[in-house]
Amino acid sequence: MASISGLALKRPSVIPGFGLALGFALTYLGLIVLIPLGAMVVKAASLGLPGFWDIVSSPRTLAALRLSFLTALFAASINAVFGVVIAWVLVRYRFPGKRLLDAFVDLPFALPTAVAGIALTAIYAPNGWIGGWLAPLGIKVAYTPLGILIALIFIGLPFVVRTVQPVLEEFDREIEEAAATLGARRAQTISRVILPALMPAILTGFALALARAVGEYGSVIFIAGNIPYVSEIAPLLIVIRLEEFGYAEATAIGTAMLLISFGMLLLVHLVQAWRRRRFGND
């Protein structure tokens, strides 16, 4: 019966009217998300399947899609690791300036992305503060895919920190102590006790950072260099098609990105669901 009551539509709630709330939710999502996306898919569909495929499978589009999705995956993975470390430091230690550090994490959210892009480019350009040190070593950051990666790490950082942080705060320290008294080594405590508990939050943060990075335009465009086949991201290719008044072509690339993103997010959800079945609810 538990599963049935979980599915039951009418449950007592402090917010009145399930019908009203659901109706609102559907209308709102429809207006804000589904109709615009639907319009895009319809426009792309005007090309017909062969036309759509021609554009999406052209080497230039494929190169841009590969660059966008690979750098986004890399950036989200790096954020997943270091975001957890930052969340850990913020939750587990007390030190002067902690509040300030905590506030810094949200800056990439607040900053207009174009400003972030210009600032990053200025710093990583061969005559910039950091770029100036790297240039003599033969490391080029700005105007290469490496620059894109750094921009994507920057804009994706808050997602992992902010999803992991509350879970860590809830996490009982005594469980770690219990593991230690039972003879677990530190590495074992991390891999067997802490990480599994954090995993859903990390995966959620990873998925959010990934989704954000794939569609990012403003911060990337200044640092990318935008050379076709080398550092041209898919969103720029969409803008280029628009500059050519190729609305249908632009929406075709957009639709392809939407499909790939949807597939990747679905995969993350499946991993989460599998984990829940495997390790139980957490």
Binding site: A125, G128, A142, P228, I240, E243
Partner: protein
């Protein structure tokens, strides 16, 4: 009713109507332009508002909207209620005309093919010209870094590209394959393709990338003014292109808003002696040089100028699809098979 209140309401009603009467005569024009014309149109607008007030007693306010030329054209097509467009490329206005907002014959409605000013493409190099860049040849040499925006996203960049093409055409005696080869070599030397002209200027000037910046003549002069002549110098190639940014009234919009008379007067005003003089002061080459100050004109170097209407290009209607359309010559430059 309280007597005071009545007086106040009457006074309020009166002042409202009083305010409404001149407001009725007020007109607002929106000029959708491209990036580097910001400073020029600030002067034009002030002068026109004054002139119009003297002639008709009406107050006219002109709002400016600036951005990439293609982006502005798209905004107008998508519903930006611009009364006039003053863009970088004929093709951008043609695209608006295609959507039915502007009459097809717009080019012939104003003098000089609707281009009240022109400019050309020159090189901005670092002080002392360390790579000894003198002409287009030098840009295709190994080890020279050239900064120019992406012709797919920037109107100015298309002029840069065509200028290089025109030079190659003269040098190689109209051999199209060799022209292609030349332009390809030049673009292999481009380390960053910014999306707009101002972005390229930033890359060259602030980030210190590149040996030479391909720039509008007026932008190059502005850059020298702003940044000081101790850092950069202008190099004028032996041949360049005459870039003629056109202007047009957006017919559908002015008819809907009832602003046709003012909008047409505004564009005609650009050809007035006073404005032609200001155009030359702002480093644009005036369509009617007779009206400009001799000392302003003297700043423009003598250079052989080809135009996009020359048989070599056959006008934008031919040049656009041949060079910049999807899969056209510019795209071929970056095909992977040709990267080595």
């Amino acid at each position: 009713m309280n007597k005071h209140l009545r007086i106040i309401t009457t006074a309020a009603a009166f002042s409202l109507t009083a305010a409404a009467i001149p407001a009725f005569a007020d007109t607002t024009l929106l000029n959708a332009s491209y990036d580097p014309t910001r400073e020029l149109y600030k002067q034009v607008n002030a002068a026109f508002a004054k002139d119009w007030k003297e002639k008709t007693g009406e107050t006219v306010t002109i709002e400016q909207s600036h951005g990439g030329s293609g982006k502005q054209a798209r905004a107008v097509i998508d519903g930006l209620k611009a009364d006039v467009v003053t863009l970088a490329l004929e093709g951008d206005i043609d695209n608006i005309a295609k959507s039915g907002l502007i009459a097809e014959n717009w080019r012939s409605r104003l003098p000089d093919a609707s281009s009240p000013y022109a400019s050309t493409i020159v090189f901005l190099v670092r002080k002392g010209n360390p790579k000894a860049i003198k002409d287009w040849d030098d840009l295709a040499k190994d080890g020279v870094e050239v900064i120019t925006p992406n012709p797919k996203t920037s109107g100015g960049a298309r002029w840069n590209y065509l200028a290089a093409w025109a030079y190659a055409d003269q040098k190689y005696g109209h051999d199209e394959e060799k022209n292609k080869e030349f332009v390809k070599k030049l673009y292999k030397n481009v380390p960053v393709l910014d999306t707009g002209a101002r972005g390229s200027t930033t890359t060259f000037v602030q980030r210190g990338i590149g040996d030479v910046l391909l720039a509008w003549e007026n932008e190059a002069f502005l850059a020298l003014n702003e940044l000081g002549e101790d850092q950069f110098e202008i190099v004028v190639p032996s041949l360049s292109i005459k870039a003629e940014p056109p202007v047009a009234v957006v017919d559908k919009n002015v008819d809907a808003k009832g602003t046709r008379k003012v909008a047409e007067a505004y564009l005609k005003f650009l050809y007035q002696p006073e404005i032609q003089k200001a155009i030359a002061k702002n480093y644009y080459r005036p369509a009617e040089p007779d009206y400009a100050d001799a000392k302003d004109l003297a700043r423009f170097p003598d250079v052989q100028l080809v135009t996009v209407d020359d048989p070599l290009f056959g006008g934008w209607k031919q040049a656009q699809p041949k060079h910049f359309a999807d899969g056209a010559i510019f795209d071929q430059i970056y095909q992977p098979a040709s990267t080595n």
